[in-house]
Amino acid sequence: MARNLLRTALRTCMRGGLLLSAVTFLAHGAQAQDGGTDAQVERGRYLAIAGDCLACHTAPGGRPFAGGLDLKTPFGIITSSNITSDRDTGIGSWTQPQFERAVRHGKSPDRYLYPAMPYTAYVKITDTDISDLWAYIRTIPAVNNRVVTNKLPFPYNIRTLMIGWNMLFFDRSAFAPDPSRSAQVNRGAYLVEGLEHCGTCHTTKNAFGGDTRATYQGTSLQGWYAPDLSNNTHTGLGGWSADDIVTYLRAGTNRHTASSGPMTETIENSTQHLTEADLQAIAAYFKSLPQRTVTVPAPLPASNRQMMAGAREFTVQCSACHVSTGAGIANMIPTLQHNPAVNAPNPDSLINIVLRGTDGPVTTANPTGAAMPSFGWKLHDDQIANILTYIRNSMGNAAPAVLASDVGRARKAIDAQKVVWH
């Protein structure tokens, strides 16, 4: 339960209707109040962006940080809390230690939090940063907005269930810099493991939602596959330079690809606002991960029935944007050639994008917002399966075939449109 809850909640949160981008709000943000210095508040503001707090703690049409965003999970609805300084309905009456316990340990003054709040990652946040974050959070204008956060049905509504889960799977250790690595790599590791909580989506979990040792090797997120970020060229970031990673996190696009799905909002709301130094640190950290060897399957032959049908459909449906060779357009339309996301063992994201389309990233660095239209209404399950099988086994890619039944299951699971013709 916890595993699914956490990740589903996170996904919903990131895809939720975000009204004001962090930039807009924070630019018009609050003034320093009692407590923190201006510089401290500024640092806290930056950390709040890095942690992407606003995304979950703001409801569609609601005031920033006043909570109320419904996170729909298979177990029921969890609603994000009001973290403005309202004493009655927000966290205005909290102390810094109470704030620290909530953020880093998932325990508010009166209850256990569900891991929809990524405290399992935030536990890495340093004392100084927690202090700065608190200084900033204190400046958020009070909004009286009572939120019933727990609308889960029995038994999931029993918050004390989390005590057991925490004991089993919550590694409470603080961030420990590796003295053998550069300061830059350590800074990157701190951001990635802590505030940016990348592993929450990208690390493979065990059956109970605890992290496995397959750090950043990609995992399924109900309808999406958070790709492998490990150092291998077939499915991971091995083929990307540090600059490619920086450009991607800043612009949402780079010479290889454009973001899609939940990552787009992470980039728009959080990573695009990070400093050049922090982005370089994150890139350096990923590039410092050990080389990983993955088994590359033999691609299906071009004579395969699915491959032949897929090749024809690709020409008609896909080449207008992705080009007949799959080369794409740099900083705009992903290349499909030698594309690690295309080679992902699990085709969930590919199926999702084809069925429902995906908004393009809109960032200060690249506001183009070139999006992919949905094909769910237009292409049958077998057509999509053939196209994806073709893409996954040509243009330098090699990955298992996609079956029509995979597409059919996904179509139901993500509530994609039915095809309008027979």
Partner: protein, 241 residues
């Protein structure tokens, strides 16, 4: 909640909340910069015309239109005729929709006839013109042959349509030659529009001329096939490649 849904909702209120005292919002859609919310409302989904029943024409009208259409675009070695290609179904659905009601025309009066260069001034809709025109068409056929158009020989049908086309055979109220122009335009549309509209069955019209159909990329051909024959296997908007 999709981002675009935000536009209608709270966004407008929020962005202007401080000004609410003078501004009553949301009568038209307002898009504010910096909010990230600027996607359009998607157009209604496409659909495929259901040819199993008539939606505007009566069965008799459909039969008569089919007979006329099959003279205008007959079956031959180059492909099926208009009716088999679905042109009557196409017309039936067009007349039932915004085209049939001339929903986009300026219809305010006074309605007066002008010089030819001032364009059509009538405000009858295509649906109304067909309803009346087909009656007057049959009256003209009866006046000349004392039977229905559908009962004429192929040669008689052709001769009669020449008379309508030139205006030599007149209708009671409508202009026969203008009605002919409408018939010819609509049958061509049915024969050549995307099959989802009910006509152009098996893309017969596109195969007639070698038109590739709903293709969005000719970069590979613009030079390599310049001046050369292309063996085209057309595709429709909704279908298989």
């Amino acid at each position: 909640m999709k981002r675009r849904d935000v536009i209608k909702g709270g966004l407008v209120l929020m962005a202007t909340s401080t000004l609410a005292s003078i501004y009553k919002p949301a009568y038209s859609k307002t898009y504010v910069g910096g909010t990230g919310a600027w996607r359009a409302t998607p157009p209604p989904p496409l659909s495929v015309v259901d040819g199993s029943r008539l939606v505007y024409l009566t069965p008799d009208e459909a039969k008569l239109v089919g007979a006329i259409f099959d003279v205008l675009i007959p079956a031959d070695e180059l492909g099926m005729g208009a009716t088999e290609a679905g042109c009557v179904t196409f017309l039936d659905h067009q007349l039932a929709g915004p085209y049939g009601t001339a929903a986009k025309d300026y219809k305010l009066g006074p309605v007066v006839e002008g010089l030819p260069q001032q364009g059509p001034q009538g405000i009858m809709t295509p649906a109304e013109i067909y309803r009346k025109g087909l009656v007057e068409f049959e009256h003209a056929v009866h006046a000349k042959f004392d039977k229905s158009f559908t009962e004429l020989s192929e040669e008689q049908k052709i001769t009669f349509l020449y008379g309508i086309e030139s205006g030599a055979i007149a209708f009671e109220t409508l202009k026969s030659d203008q009605f002919f122009v409408l018939l010819l335009q609509n049958v061509r549309e049915g024969y050549l529009a995307d099959p989802m509209y009910g006509g152009n069955r098996d893309m017969v019209g596109w195969k007639l001329v070698g038109f590739p159909g709903a293709i969005y990329d000719y970069r590979d051909w613009i030079v390599s096939k310049r001046g050369k024959k292309i063996d085209v296997n057309p595709v429709s908007l909704l279908g298989r490649a």
